[in-house]
Amino acid sequence: MCEVIVITSGKGGVGKTTTTANLGSGLAALGKKVVMIDTDIGLRNLDVVMGLENRIVYNLVDVVEGVCRVKQALIRDKRYPGLYLLPSAQTRDKTAVNENQMIKLIEYLRPQFDYILLDCPAGIEQGFKNAVVGADRAIVVTTPEVSAIRDADRIIGLLESHETKQIDLLLNRMRLDLVKKGDMMSPTDVVDILGIPLIGVIPDDEQVVISTNQGEALVETPSLAGRAYRNISLRITGEKIPIELFQSISFWTRVSNIFHKN
């Protein structure tokens, strides 16, 4: 049975595209057949994060306008045989696609895939509506900052009124060293405020920048963030894995902590 998951956040720059790319790769690494749809028309990004920017011929707008068949627009990933990308158009805007067209496209893709991941644009306008309309469940990405959490709360309210069946929280860029000092809200604090279940915590990891630079998937690396994404992929498939709080404290921080202990 196919599950359609929208990855959304409200605020921009919190890691929706990185999350989509890595959950897509993570699920495909588990042997699932996955298609990722970039719904951010006009600001195409998922292709470049996946390292597939040179393979684009047709895009989402071409598909809904009937310029090409769906199959022609799907790009097969270079690493995982079961992973496909439907890129967004770069030269158009959000009004180029409407909600009915998205539902039609998703219903067409549903029988062919195990998971459909929708990378949602920032904001709550037409692009958001297009991305959430066909989704069975949502993953709300946020960082432990007041602005991102406020926007996430607004998005959760909108998803609830859309009657999205399941809404989970993904907490990105967590720094346990700051949490310990009391200078960052802890995962418990954020869950307490937003009131939805936590599907995973991604530590603030420099490997995210490195992998994105190279257009490679994090899930292949032995990094902490890669492991966190692998675990979230497993949780999506229904496995019960306890949430780890990854601690990436360097040797020198540990030494200085000894001296700073009260």
Partner: protein
């Protein structure tokens, strides 16, 4: 140890959490702190007709219902100490 904790400044993480809690309540029901304040003044005026109340120690706040969903509306919580009942 405990004494040090008491005099310690509130951590920025706690400040963020407290600010968000207040902010999200008004965001969720679309009610600004200003409206809430006006309502508070009206409640004081109304009750003062019948009894004198301790305005300094009274508390009127919107409490969030932590479980989300359609029927989980926030509620208005009022704790008003009475000083004297007018005859």
């Amino acid at each position: 140890m405990k004494k040090i904790q008491i005099f310690k400044k509130k951590s920025s993480g706690d400040i963020a959490k407290d600010r968000l809690k207040v902010l999200l309540i008004s965001d969720r029901i679309n009610c600004s702190p200003h409206t809430l304040n006006l309502m508070k003044q009206d409640i004081i005026k109304c009750i003062s007709k019948y009894m004198s109340i301790d305005e300094e120690h009274m508390e009127i706040v919107l409490k969030k219902n932590n479980k989300r969903g359609k029927n989980k509306k926030p509620s208005l919580y009022a704790n008003i100490p009475i000083l004297d009942i007018h005859e």
